[in-house]
């Protein structure tokens, strides 16, 4: 669990605080995405959690413990850290990169080797093929995976990710988002994530925190924020297609199933309401067939979106 209270950062000489009086809680095993325009203070906020930036005021508690009362390096070894540029050490092979935190923690060699193989497998890289490779021999996506593996190696309860997939091409990015999301859920990590991409934020964050000029504008579960932006700025930032993004958060099976069959091929397993809508649009039909038989209707979909969305 990450508890942030009254957190403020004022850089010397700046005319306004970079982060001002932000309070938010990321419950154990959940993720929170920080979004906002550039200069909104989201990265500064993230970097205060592992004290790469020292707060001017406020408190941070990690698992109930006051982060400012612990030695900063000891604190950071208990917090996974992933950045957009990855920052792999080019003079070390993949295994040595991943072993960074375990080595700093003084683990034995056998334990480190076993852990390196374990986390490589977790991020979908074959240890036999990748352990001895050097960072320059990896593709962008592989590098980012190694970055995630390195952050997980010390088995930290908390992970900080700053634009973790920003440098990866769109196809790879979708794949990585999916896998990392699944992985972090499975490992029950508490994650604080920075992104400027609304779609990524609602996909990866159980909750979303929107910042503007250092202040917290809204902090809500992803679906709720999309349905009910707190103000005009939030609505504009989330974008005109926010209701579509929101549909992507719900499985197609959220809607009541009608026995009447619908035209076209059945939706794939795990399809979302957005997929269902896309299916109806392309088939020119008002219903979409489900994989297990039966169908869902456009009328129900509209009622779901409207009912949940416009209730302010």
């Amino acid at each position: 669990m990450i508890e942030i209270e009254g957190l403020t950062k004022r850089w010397p000489g700046a005319d306004r605080a970079s982060v001002e009086n932000v309070s938010l809680i990321v419950p154990e095993g959940t993720s929170c995405a920080l979004i906002g325009p550039s200069g909104s203070g989201k990265t500064t906020l993230l970097r205060m959690v592992n004290r790469l930036v020292e707060p001017s005021a406020g408190t941070i508690r990690i698992g109930g413990e006051d982060a400012r009362a612990i030695d900063a390096t000891a604190l950071r070894r208990r917090i996974g850290y992933v950045i957009q540029e990855v920052g792999l050490f080019p003079h070390w092979d993949v295994a040595a990169n991943i072993a960074t935190v375990p080595t700093l923690l003084g683990w034995g060699r056998a334990r480190i080797r076993a852990r390196v193989e374990e986390v490589l497998a977790l991020v979908g890289l074959d240890p036999a093929r990748f352990a001895t490779r050097r960072p320059h021999e990896l593709s962008g996506g592989e590098r980012q995976r190694v970055g995630v593996a390195r952050a997980l190696a010390g088995d930290p309860p908390v992970l900080l990710m700053d634009e973790p997939f920003g440098a990866v091409d769109p196809v790879q990015r979708g794949l990585l988002q999916e896998e990392v999301l699944r992985l972090l859920r499975q490992l029950r990590k508490t994650v604080l994530l920075v992104t400027h991409d609304v779609a990524e934020a609602v996909r990866l964050g159980d909750a979303v925190a929107l910042l503007r000029e250092g202040r917290l504008v809204q902090h809500a579960p992803a679906a709720e924020m999309l349905a009910r932006p707190a103000d005009g700025f939030a609505a504009e930032f989330l974008g005109a297609d926010r209701m579509l993004l929101r549909l992507a958060l719900f499985p197609a099976t959220t809607l009541p199933v009608h026995a009447k069959p619908a035209p076209g091929a059945a939706l794939p397993e795990g399809a979302t309401l957005r997929d269902a809508l896309a299916h109806m649009l392309s088939a020119g039909a008002t219903a979409a067939p489900l994989p297990g038989g039966g169908s869902i209707t456009l009328a129900d979909l509209l009622a779901f979106a409207g009912g949940e969305g416009s209730r302010a």
């Binding site: 790469l52 390096t73 950045i83 990855v86 920052g87 050490f89 080019p90 003079h91 390195r150």
Partner: protein, 208 residues
């Protein structure tokens, strides 16, 4: 070559002197420039100043440095070594500063974020990333010092330059040529050997 066959002892003594002069001067220069470079690299203004100073010092001809030291320190081995150390200083200083400053900021950020202490970060990440450029500075300094050591003869420092000046004075072309060729070979050899090491090091650090 006849001269060399007749005076192998003299030649070897001159080579020995030359190497001793060069290595001592180089060692002192590195011992000063490397820590200085490390110390100023993280202070932007001092770093800029040292890069500019280094660039300016580099343009002063070796002979001028030797000549300028003559009235201050007199003649002999010590002033020659000091002059050579001064010559070694700028390339090592400038490359150390640039090498450290060009270390990948993302790798440094990751190092801190993963919980390395300042010293661990400097020793395990920053210095290894700076190493190829620092080493390239060492190579330039070494070649420059080995060449400039030939001029030490003008302030009584000894070395292979002695063979050249003696050859000129005695109109002994053989002696002069042996000195000149040996100086050139030493400089070329230093460049070739250190250049090879440098490429090897760069490959180890950066890959590619």
């Amino acid at each position: 070559m006849d001269w060399l066959r007749a005076h192998p002892g003299l030649f070897l003594a001159a080579v020995g002197d030359h190497l001793l002069l060069s290595l001592t001067g180089l060692a002192i220069g590195i011992a000063l420039a490397l820590p200085l470079g490390i110390a100023v690299a993280h202070r932007p203004r001092l770093a800029e100043a040292s890069i500019m100073l280094g660039g300016a010092l580099r343009t002063i001809p070796s002979l001028a440095v030797l000549a300028a030291l003559l009235p201050l320190l007199g003649v002999g081995f010590t002033p020659s070594v000091i002059a050579l150390a001064l010559l070694a200083l700028p390339p090592v200083l400038v490359n150390t500063v640039i090498g450290i400053r060009s270390a990948d900021p993302a790798a440094l950020d990751a190092a801190s974020g993963l919980g390395m202490t300042g010293t661990q970060r400097a020793m395990q990440v920053e210095m290894p990333l700076a190493a190829p450029l620092i080493f390239s500075g060492l190579r330039v300094a070494a070649v420059q010092v080995v060449s400039a050591a030939a001029l030490a003869t003008f302030i009584g420092g000894g070395g292979l330059g002695d063979l050249v000046t003696q050859g000129l004075a005695l109109l002994d072309t053989g002696r002069m040529l042996v000195g000149a060729i040996a100086i050139a070979m030493l400089a070329l050899g230093t460049e070739a050997a250190l250049g090879m090491l440098e490429r090897h090091l760069a490959a180890r650090v950066r890959g590619a």
